[in-house]
Structure formats: C-alpha cells, structure tokens
C-alpha cells in the first residue's frame, strides 16, 4: 500500500464507497429470513405486492437498514473525531464512558423502573422488544449525556488535556459499570436477561421515529465536523501549532468531544452497544487516504454505513431466522480484517 496520496486517489475512495453503500443498501433490503424473492421485494418496495410483503419491506427491513446506515456513519465519524481531538489512535466513540452510562441508564429502566414491560411475559427478548423503547432509550440517553457533561466539566479544570480526558472517561466509565453490576446483581432473572440483551447492539429495535432522530443528530454533527475539517487538520500538528494558525484549541476539542459523544449517546440509547465501527473505520480510511479531514470525514461516514450494512445483512443471513447481535458480527468480521491490514501494511518510511 502506498502512503503517497494525491487528489485523484483521494476522491476515488469516497466515490467507490458511495456506490458500494447504494448496492449494499438494496442487497440488505432484499435479504432476510422471510424467503421473499428479489422480484417480490422490488414489487413490495414499489407498493405493488401483498400487504404482508409490503409490511416486511416497509415496516421491518427499511427502518432497520436505515438505522444501519445512520448509526454506522455516526459511530464511525464519532470515532474519527475522538481520535483527532485526543491525538490517540485507541480513542473510540465511547472513550468518554458514554456507552457505560447509557447501559446503566437502560439497566436502571429495565431492572429498577421496570421499563413498563415486566408484566408482558417471561421471554427476555420479547420483553426488550415490547418495552416502551422511548422510556428505556430516553433514560439511557439522559445518563449518557449527563456522564459526558460530567467528564467534560471535570476536564475543563485541566484545559481538556487529551490524557486527562481519556483517563477521566475511563474512570467515570468504570463507575457506571460498577453501578450496572450492582443493579444486575439485584435483578430478577427476566430483568437481568432483558438488560443483558438490551446491551447487545440490535438494529431490529429501530423505528422510523428513532431513525429520524438519529439522522438529525448524525447529520447535523457531521456537517459541523466537515465545516471544521481544516481546524481538525491543524490539530494533527499539536496544540501549539494549531493555536499558532488561529485555532481555538480548547473550544475545538470541546465541540469535537461533545458532538461525538452526542452521536454515540443517541445511537447506543436506541440500538445498544455496537462496538468497533468507531475504531476500525477511521483507521482504514486514514491508511488509504491519509488524515485530511476534508476527505477522511466523508470517507469514514460512508465506510461506517457500508460496514454496518454488510455486517447486519450477514447477521440476518447466518442466524437461521434470528438476527445475531450486529455488534458481535461487526467485531467478528471487522477485527480479523483490521489485523490483516495492520500487519501486512508496509512500515512507515
């Protein structure tokens, strides 16, 4: 792989990714456990099929595929911005402990506050599905955002020094994890199962309303990130160098961390934890086109869409009628590919 980049190659990647995302979108829409033929799927999409098929396409598959597109893009770009803001390749969308806080909030709702579902049955998966998704998600989101604000407020005392942010995120995350463990220890079997299943990333939970909310957040944040591309480029040279070219480093870092965490909080609250997208996508993109955020932000958004679409399609295809947790499939497929890339790439000159 060459590390030499030029303008032509730089724009090839987003173009290829955009075409791949469109293809993957339709493949994902037409693949599922209902054994619908391609013709049936297309007819259903055009509202020219049976009501059952139309419901499958419009009410089940489309919200799920849209969730994969939006959450994949959001988590990937959140990871990229976290890595830039913290100058750390290990930074991820959850570095500020957002996911741990969201999991605690969801656990609190499902176990302690009953989430409005406990009377509905004893099957934990059904319980999660039948719980008022907004009640659980809203509480998860409130905790996630509260946690982010707490970490950032603490880090303000140290001028958002990257190491302080990372360590504060780890420490606050550990507190949420401990609190979750205590909650789960006292939970009923059903409550515990529901809470554990909630934490698995599941795109099947997504509704159109949730998709629109995620789209609004991911879209708005991505536009802000793209507008700040050159400032993020300046930050790659270190705080002093960025300041010297006119960047308000503290404000940039605050905005980057806050918006990345907001994206993560929304996605995790609605869908559960989907790991690795936020680490693997930025790394792959940076290895191919370098770190110029004008190119890497759109490329990472598109690669995130593609990765989650493909892994969700796989998770629905190999589960024998039941979709496997997409978060697990993302890591299972992504990690070996990532390792291969890491160890086969030429050493930096």
């Amino acid at each position: 792989m060459t590390r030499t980049t030029n303008k032509r190659i730089n724009w090839i990647l987003p173009a290829v990714l955009a075409v791949s995302v469109v293809l993957a979108f339709f493949i994902s829409l037409f693949v599922g456990s209902s054994k619908m033929s391609l013709a049936d799927s297309i007819a259903a999409l055009a509202h020219r099929s049976t009501p059952a098929y139309e419901r499958i396409i419009w009410n089940i598959r489309l919200p799920r595929v849209l969730a994969a597109l939006i959450a994949g893009a959001g988590l990937a770009v959140a990871g990229l911005i976290m890595q830039t803001c913290l100058g750390n390749v290990m930074a991820s969308p959850s570095t500020l402990g957002v996911s741990n806080a969201a999991v605690f909030g969801a656990n609190l709702s499902l176990i302690a506050l009953s989430g409005g579902f406990l009377t509905l049955g004893t099957n934990a998966t059904d319980a999660v599905r039948q719980a008022d998704p907004f009640a659980v998600s809203a509480i998860a989101f409130i905790f996630a955002i509260a946690s982010v604000l707490l970490v950032l407020a603490l880090c303000r005392l140290r001028s958002f020094s990257p190491n302080t942010v990372i360590l504060a995120g780890v420490a606050i995350g550990a507190i949420w994890t401990a609190a979750t463990t205590i909650l789960q220890y006292h939970a009923t079997d059903v409550g515990l199962s529901a809470a554990v299943i909630w934490s698995f990333g599941d795109l099947g939970r997504a509704t159109y309303t949730q998709d629109y909310i995620m789209l609004a957040v991911v879209g708005a944040c991505s536009i802000v990130f793209f507008a700040l591309s050159w400032r993020f480029n300046a930050l790659l040279g270190g705080d002093e160098a960025a300041h010297a070219v006119g960047v308000n480093v503290r404000l940039l870092r605050l905005v980057g961390l806050l918006l990345s965490s907001l994206i993560t909080a929304v996605c995790v609250s609605f869908l559960g934890i989907i790991g690795f997208v936020g680490i693997i996508c930025p790394h792959i993109v940076k290895r191919i086109v370098g770190s110029n955020h004008c190119i890497s932000i759109p490329s990472t958004l598109l690669l995130g869409c593609l990765l989650l679409l493909v892994t969700d399609t796989v998770s629905r295809s190999v589960g024998g009628g039941t979709a496997l947790p997409v978060g697990a499939i993302t890591s299972l497929l992504g990690a070996p590919f990532f390792l291969a890339m890491l160890f086969t790439a030429k050493e930096r000159g």
């Binding site: 002093e240 010297a244 006119g246």
Partner: protein
C-alpha cells in the same frame, strides 16, 4: 519593530521563569535567542503566541500582540515549534493549514495561489502530493518553513527548530531562514542551541539567564566572557576567512564548583 517590555511570568512567585524581560528587534532583522535550557526561551515564545498570559507588553509594528484577536495574531506571527508534527497529511495540505486564519472554513483561489508559490519558492512543489511522514528530516523542516511563510505573517518565531537535524540539514535550514528573511523582509526571532550556526545567521543577539536578557547586541556580544557567564563553559571565537568559529573548551571553574 518587535518591542518586548518588562515581560514577567512564573509558576512560583519566588522563581519567575521570565523576569522583567525586555528586548527590541528591528523590522526585517533576525534576532537570535541564546541561553541554557530553562533560561525562559520557550516560555517567551508561548507569551508571544498568547498561549501563556504574562505581565508586561509585546508590541509588533505598533500593535499589542496580547490584545489582538486569535485570528489577527495568526496573521501577524507564525511559529515553528521545537518538535514538529504534521499528522498524516500531504505536503500541500500541511502548508495549506497555515492559511486557516485567512480562509476560515474552505480554501479559496488566493490561498491556493499562495501555497503554490511558497512550495515553488521552497523547492517543495514536486513533493506536494507526498505524505509528509515519508519525507526526510531536512525536507520536513523545509515544510515547516513553508508553512510559516504561507501564513503571510511579518514576524516568524522558531523555537530551537533544528534539534533533530544532522549538521548539513541544520546548515541548510539556517541558510533558508536567512534567505527568506531577506527576500520577504521578515522579522525573525529564533532560539538556537548551536553557537556556530547562531553566529552565522543573526543580526541581533540576546543572551538569556534566569528569564531575562543579560547581554544583547550584534555578533560581537557573543564572546568568551559572555559564553562563560551564560553557559558556564570555556569557549573561544576565532575568525577564519571572515567567518566566526566557536572552539569549545571545558566546563568553567565556577560551573564545576
């Protein structure tokens, strides 16, 4: 003219890092800061950039740098740090970053024209699409100068910029600084460790001890006595073919004891 008056800064009141430091650097001249590690050179640069709040005043071309907006300061003063990182960018993008204060969100045709011209001037145009992490140390240093020039600031400050360069690249670097200063009428303040190179580039010398300028003047101010006082070492300046050479001796008696 860069006028620094009574600059004072310290983490501890009893031991200020900058102690009523004053200096004057005429427009279009190269000022060289000399002094041991910890003499306050890097802190002075941080004050110039507005990264550290100091008491006293810093005035350049009649304008108080401390009162300038961040963007205006970036158009006035460009900075090359001790450790230069660029991230995983192309040479072109590295230099374009310097135009940020001029373009705000997206580069325009004027920014591209300036960057192209600077790359041509610095002999980097053919490397413009190369990833900067693949360049040699000397080439990277050239990129650092190109970046400072693209900022179109009239005052350039370099904080010991050749720390990790070999002798030939160090010489090349200082020759480039001298050339661009003359060609573009830039005022340059540079902290230098190597006295030999320092003597070959400067117009005005400032020798610092404990956060203040102890000696200042033309190259003549750097002599055996001042070197002993500032660095605590024995040295001799010998002129061969019109060029000053520094011959180092041992650590002086006062320093040793």
């Amino acid at each position: 003219m860069l006028e620094i008056r009574d600059l004072t800064f310290g983490y501890n009141k009893n031991k200020p890092v900058l102690n009523h430091l004053s200096l004057e650097l005429p427009e279009g001249k190269i000022g060289v800061l000399l002094g041991k590690n910890g003499a306050g050179k890097s802190t002075l640069f941080r004050c110039l950039l507005g990264l550290t709040k100091c008491s006293g005043s810093i005035v350049f071309e009649g304008k108080d740098l401390a009162k300038m907006k961040r963007i205006d300061r970036a158009k006035t003063i460009a900075y090359v740090p001790q450790q230069i990182h660029f991230g995983d960018l192309t040479v072109y993008d590295c230099v374009m970053v310097a135009r940020l204060a001029h373009f705000g969100l997206a580069a325009g045709s004027e920014d591209r024209r300036v960057v192209d011209q600077v790359l041509l001037d610095m002999g980097l145009y053919d490397l413009r699409n190369e990833n900067v992490s693949r360049l040699s140390g000397g080439e990277r240093q050239k990129v650092a100068i190109a970046r400072a020039l693209a900022q179109e600031a009239k005052l350039l400050v370099f904080d010991e910029p050749t720390g990790n360069l070999d002798v030939s690249n160090e010489q090349l670097f200082y020759r480039l600084i001298k050339d661009v200063a003359a060609k573009r009428n830039l005022t340059i303040l540079v902290a230098v460790h190597n006295l030999q190179f320092a003597l070959s580039i400067g117009d005005v010398y400032y020798m610092m001890i404990d956060g203040k300028v102890r000696y200042s003047g033309d190259a003549g101010v750097v002599n055996a006595d001042t070197i002993r006082d500032v660095y605590g070492i024995q040295a001799k300046i010998i002129k061969i073919n019109g060029i000053n050479h520094v011959i180092y001796g041992g650590i002086s008696h006062e320093q040793n004891t």
